[in-house]
């Protein structure tokens, strides 16, 4: 194979910041990352944040308990709007989960060195987002204790799940995604757990990390198989991550509801997922690097690269919105045209305009380097994009269902207190798990950072 290597030293490359601030050694990166877990005392900020999010988790439990007591009637759903907040939130959370695997798998295959310091917590974010996402379809079934009906098990009834239904595909896609993400994350953690085991001072920590690290001893033979498995996992996770949101989009596009039945859905859902996922990575990375002084590892270069990914995927999403309108008018199908007009002029049009503002107009500011290099602006931008992506799912679910084919089947939807409390509760769960994660496990892949130090001390690898 003759691949032209990019020149290692050129003016353009020298202008790029390194992905790791200079002057770090194997010991200093290990110390700095491990100290967050092992020695740093719990600060008031952590305790306050954990306390707040923990109380939101209690709100989630309360909402779920009330739901199970009373049934889904406590939500705003009705006939014809059978899919309300639960499905909006499910799609939103699962979309957020996509960035973790994208960063760890696709950027790994593309040999993008800058992924190293953000992949670990992005993968953790994926797991927690998938956990939050999984709650919604479960409770949306109305009888969550019967959810096992969706799995093919030999029952006394002698029947099987309907494998021609996208909802069953979804069960398999999401559970596979959750499992593979967990495996990927754990394999990545293995050497770092061994590092923590070796550096832990108190017995409980030594024992806990010792058990979790499975006795990993950094043997070169082990590393060889490890790298082989890691590369294969990256190769497997890449088509998987693209398939998951595709299958989620099938939940909509296989149905013949106007506004859902379009072929643009799979690519536009995947792009939207990556878009919102990167926004969430920024939302988490910016406070994290500040709170724990990790600016040397999560540099401006990382933030800027993520901003560029957001800009690119945001433009794909904008193209998706455009094609939806174009196909509606071009097809001349009166139901599609009507639905497009409902988005612009119907009772929920303010949601649509807010969506365009959040997802298409505001992110155009990312064309400017000044904005991409302004941490506060990026943080606000990430929140705006996450809001926009939530609105997108709301527009898709609610506008189409309230304006079906026959005017007699039209309806209105508004969420109730319990809809909001469940959603806010999952936000609390997500952030609480992140709080626990940053203090319990290394938020940055330590062994990969050491590899980066080795590369950097040889003057190669900086161009990546």
């Amino acid at each position: 194979m003759s691949v032209t290597q990019p020149p290692i030293d050129s003016p353009e490359i020298r202008r790029l910041e390194p992905v790791l601030a200079p002057g770090h050694t194997y010991l200093s990166v290990t110390d700095k990352i491990a100290a967050v877990v092992l020695t740093r005392p719990l600060g008031i900020g952590w305790l306050a944040g954990f306390g707040l999010t923990f109380s939101l988790v209690m709100l989630l439990f309360l909402s779920l308990a009330w739901l199970i007591t009373k049934g889904v009637g406590i939500w705003g759903i009705n006939i014809p709007i059978g899919w309300g907040f639960a499905i909006v939130n499910f799609v939103w959370w699962i979309g957020i989960g996509h960035a973790g695997t994208l960063i760890s798998a696709i950027l790994y295959l593309l040999n993008q060195k800058w992924r190293t310091s953000i992949n670990r917590f992005a993968e953790a974010m994926t797991l927690f987002a998938v956990a939050c996402a999984g709650i919604f379809p479960l409770i949306h079934t109305g009888r969550p204790w019967m959810a096992y009906y969706m799995f093919p098990y030999p029952s006394t009834m002698g029947i099987w799940p309907q494998f021609r239904s996208p909802l069953i595909w979804d069960v398999f896609a999401v559970s596979t995604y959750g499992t593979v993400s967990l495996l990927f994350w754990y394999v990545g953690l293995l050497p770092d757990l061994a590092t923590l085991r070796d550096r832990a001072k108190d017995r409980a920590q030594q024992l806990a990390y010792g058990v979790l690290s499975l006795g990993w001893r950094n043997s070169a033979h082990h590393w060889h198989r490890y790298q082989s498995a890691y590369l294969l996992l990256a190769g497997l996770a890449t088509p998987l991550v693209l398939s998951v949101h595709t299958v989620v989009s099938f939940d909509f596009s296989v149905a013949i509801v106007p506004g859902w039945h379009t072929t643009i859905f799979p690519p536009y859902f995947v792009a939207g997922a990556i878009y919102s996922g990167f926004a969430m990575v920024l939302t988490l990375a910016i406070p994290l690097r500040k709170a724990y002084g990790l600016e040397d590892f999560i540099t401006m270069r990382h933030l800027e690269n993520m901003a560029k990914v957001m800009l690119a995927t945001g433009l794909i999403v904008a193209y998706g919105y455009f094609i939806e309108f174009f196909m509606a008018y071009y097809s001349g199908n009166k139901f599609d045209v009507f639905l497009a007009n409902q988005r612009l002029h119907g009772p929920y049009s303010h949601f649509y305009y807010a969506l365009i503002l959040c997802n298409i107009l505001t992110p155009q500011l990312l064309w400017f380097e000044k904005v991409r290099r302004n941490v506060a602006a990026l943080f606000i931008m990430s929140l705006v994009i996450n809001t926009g992506m939530w609105l997108e799912r709301f527009v898709i679910v609610v506008i189409s269902l309230t304006r079906d084919y026959m005017p007699s089947a039209w309806g209105r939807y508004s969420a109730t207190f319990w809809d909001y409390s469940t959603f806010v509760g999952t936000l609390g769960l997500f952030v609480m798990l992140m709080f626990l994660f940053v203090r319990g496990l290394p938020a940055i892949a330590i062994s990969e950072m050491r590899e980066l130090v080795a590369h950097q001390s040889h003057g190669k690898g900086e161009h990546q």
Binding site: T25, Y26, L27, T30, P152, G158, W160, P161, F163, R164, P166, I168, W169, F172, A173, T176, T179, V180, L183, F184, Y186, V187, P191, A194, T195, R197, D198, R199, G210, V211, L214, G215, W216, R217, N218, S219, A220, H221, H222, W223, H224, R225, Y226, Q227, S228, A229, L232, L233, L236, A237, P239, L240, S243, V247, F250, S447, E448, R450, E451, A454
Partner: protein, 180 residues
């Protein structure tokens, strides 16, 4: 009962990846066969240098993927076309395009699970105790030092001589690895 050697081997400590690569090369040239290395991150070519030839991880992954895919499709075919056939307007029972998503997901699930479990099993993990942990300085193998260990089961092994050989490779420390 197998006789347990009192000594597992001799371990030498190095400061940089280059030093351990050079030492591994010389160890191989000196004719040692049972050599292991311990490094805080993977070093390209080091495993090959100390005699690692082939890993079954990719093959295991392939088998897991094939198994997962066949299970996925077979399960759906049997359930939808054999066990509980539903005639809906005479549509084909083996509606294979609708079975692709689940087949795909289970292919990935099988391959990924086999890749991880295969890697862990081939590495003989979990293994909470290993003689190398008896060396005090070995905790640095997960931070900033590079270790090369010549095992006692090597035919060329002789404690004093092997230790002297490793000293000669500019090792920072040389320790005997005891196994009780």
């Amino acid at each position: 009962m197998e006789h347990r050697p009192h000594s597992y081997g001799v371990m030498a400590e190095f400061d940089t990846p280059e030093e351990i690569m050079a030492a591994a090369k010389k160890t191989r040239e000196a004719g040692y066969k049972h050599v292991t290395a311990y490094t805080p991150f993977p070093i390209e070519g080091l495993a090959e240098e100390i005699g690692f030839k082939w890993t079954a991880v990719p093959l295991i992954t392939l088998l897991g993927g094939i198994g997962g895919g066949l299970t996925g499709f077979g399960m759906q075919y049997w359930m939808m076309a054999v066990s509980y056939p539903l005639n809906i307007g005479g549509r084909p029972l083996n509606s294979w395009p609708a079975f692709i998503p689940v087949t795909f997901e289970l292919t990935i699930l099988g391959a990924a699970t086999f890749a991880v479990l295969g890697m862990i099993a081939l590495n003989k993990l979990p293994e909470p105790y290993h003689p190398v942990f008896n060396v005090d300085r070995f905790s640095h193998a997960s931070t900033d030092k590079f270790f090369l260990c010549i095992q006692a089961k090597d035919p060329k092994y002789n404690l004093a001589e092997t230790a002297r050989f490793l000293q000669g490779l500019n090792a920072k420390h040389v320790d005997e690895v005891k196994d009780e």
